[in-house]
Amino acid sequence: MKIAVLIKQVPDTTDVKIDPKTNTLIRDGVESIINPFDMYAIEEALRLRERFGEGEVTAVSMGPPQAEAALREAVSMGCDSAVLLSDRKFAGSDTWATSYTLAQAISKLGDCKIVLCGKQASDGDTAQVGPGVSMHLNIPQVTYVKKIEKIDASSATVERMTEEGYDIVETPLPALFTVVKEINEPRLPSLKGKMKAKKAEIPVWGAADISCDECMIGLDGSPTRVVKIFTPPPREGGRVLEGEPSDAAKELASLLKDVIIG
């Protein structure tokens, strides 16, 4: 039984800072990490393999060549194999083209009963790729999964997180799940895993390797286009209230009084 996990390498945005003089990103020393939500997806995939007592977990990522490091990390956590989708022709993909490309790769892997991904990526934040992949593959999806209650070879019963609580949904397999943080606690890599990851062969698939329609990938495959990138006008800082805590607090209270009562 195959389980595919879709992961993305993103900059560690907790490290990303803005240069106050130029209002641009300071990129030096910003590490690349696995998208935090995808860590939960990897962990859940590994747990499903343990639950079934068998299965193969393959991590898949679409990105530049350096995304291979993220796939190796996935292997060091316990994934059986990994595939990198990388090709200049994929450049400029928006979420439509990305989900199409990933779906073609999963089809090539063949026989994936379960596809897992994190609910969104911390750089783009769109949460669109997961559902997009499920539509391209024409398999049912459940998003925001916080628990896989029951699962067997043909169906799964899961808890889907909502703003008010959660829904309990039953879905046939194969299916795609996007997961939230509440679902598990990702394991740390193991030394044996790291050794395996070091030696692992991670094939790189380009456009020619997956059967894809060239006008559905990359810039050409993307219905959306970025026309402008700008830094937002910085919100200006205001006043610092000086003095002893009691004076500052009293001043603040009187300043806010009108806003609150009015």
């Binding site: 945005t13 990129r27 750089d123 309990i168 219905p223 830094t231 607090a249 609150i260 009562i261």
Partner: protein
């Protein structure tokens, strides 16, 4: 012959001014011998460098497109009216407010799309809030949201009525639903827009959204596909005041039963009610961060909140440390809030948190660290120990609001 690269630097025009290097959000441009060199492995063809180059030295080429399709048959701005338990959610009204504005600019109608069971009664409010039409599909299978039936119905409606723009709330339902629709009908979809406008010349939708944790804003268009679709978070747009005098049409549709089929089954809906004051709707929020120090100490935040009739929020640090449940988290991976007053206590003001609250009217920051980034967005700041300041503040408000 070398393959033509999708993005090229015209070396004759490049003066080595390095504006493009600074503009690139992906660090893909370097200067070599005073000429810009683009690393195609890092370049995502976002076009920021093209924009900023004063010498037109960078070009992005797309393949020859087929002759532009005539999109004039696509008309109207649609708003998906998300409903839960038969009640339309407030995010839909906010979108109607914006949709109304966009429709007026285009000179077309603004319509709401309502799916559910026994929800016809909600139509009047939708019309009062700006809808010229309500497309209603009422069926028992649509009572609660399910991916398959909702996706199919929306696709049917779109292909039947051909709207040019579709807006939807970026809620858990909205995001699941709209992505599926967009992929199936091959439409451009932009998520979490903070700005929507109409381009005067081309009459297309300009979708602006934050990226890289909000450090960068991107304006996105989907010129070659219809409808142009966008999701917007709760509390970003403003709803219109209800005008009960407004007139509108209700158009009912029905579909063959296989459209309503669902591969998955909704077995149960479980509600977990947390606090009494809803964070997303609150006018005043008092938030605690790492500076609060412990679960017990959070009582100091709650007390201040109580004295102001405010909701309690938290930064990710506080939630990760288990001092307060995730439902209170404000920020990139939590809720976006837009209250009148946001008081950040012991919160450093990392970008991820700021995204969730920086559009608040008044921001107050209380933090020991004078260099905390939160002060750069705060209307008022107090550089001091929150444990000293908050009790006094609580006292003050108790007196004021007596």
């Amino acid at each position: 012959m070398a393959e033509k690269q999708p993005i090229q630097v015209i070396l004759d025009k490049c003066t080595g001014c390095t504006l493009c290097v600074k503009a690139c959000p992906f660090g893909a441009i370097e200067m070599k011998d005073r000429k810009a060199v683009i690393d195609l492995a890092k370049c995502t063809l976002c076009g920021a460098c093209v924009e900023v180059c004063k010498f037109d030295a960078i070009t992005i080429e797309k393949k020859e497109k087929k002759a532009p399709v005539d999109f004039s048959i696509y008309k109207d701005v649609w708003v998906f009216a998300e409903q839960k338990k038969g009640k339309v959610q407030s995010v839909a009204y906010e979108l109607l407010g914006k949709g109304r504005e966009l429709a007026d600019k285009l000179g077309v109608r603004c319509c709401a799309v309502l799916l559910g069971e026994g929800v016809e009664g909600e139509c009047d409010e939708l019309i009062a809030r700006g809808a010229d039409k309500v497309y209603l599909v009422d069926a028992p299978q649509l009572k609660a949201y399910q991916d398959d039936p909702y996706t199919r119905v929306l696709i049917e409606l779109i292909s039947k009525y051909k709207p040019e723009i579709v807006l939807c709330g970026a809620t858990t339902i909205g995001r699941s639903l709209i992505s599926r629709v967009a992929v199936t009908i091959r439409a451009g979809l932009t998520a979490d827009c903070t700005g929507l406008d109409i381009d005067d010349k081309d009459k297309i939708l300009l979708q602006t959204r934050p990226a890289f944790g909000g450090n960068i804003m991107a304006t996105i268009i989907s010129p070659d596909y219809r409808p142009q679709m966008a999701t917007v978070r709760h509390k970003v747009m403003k709803e219109l005041k209800a005008d009960p005098g407004r007139k509108g049409e209700i158009i009912k549709d029905e579909f063959p039963s296989d459209i309503y089929d669902s591969r998955s089954k909704l077995l149960d809906v479980v509600e977990e009610i947390e606090e009494t004051v809803n964070l997303a709707e609150a006018d005043i929020i008092v938030s605690g961060g790492r500076g609060v120090g412990s679960k017990e100490n959070f009582s100091i935040i709650r007390e201040l909140a109580l004295s102001m009739n405010a909701a309690v929020g938290a930064s990710r640090s506080a939630v990760d440390a288990d001092w307060i449940p995730y439902s209170h988290q404000v920020g990139q991976t939590g809720k976006t809030v837009c209250p009148k007053v946001y008081i950040a206590c012991g919160i450093s003001g990392q970008i991820q948190h700021l995204i969730g609250m920086k559009s608040s009217d008044v921001i107050v920051a209380i933090n020991k660290d004078p260099d905390a980034p939160i002060f750069s967005v705060a209307t008022y700041g107090i550089v001091d120990d929150l444990f000293k300041v908050l009790p006094i503040l609580t006292d003050q408000f108790k007196q004021i609001l007596k």
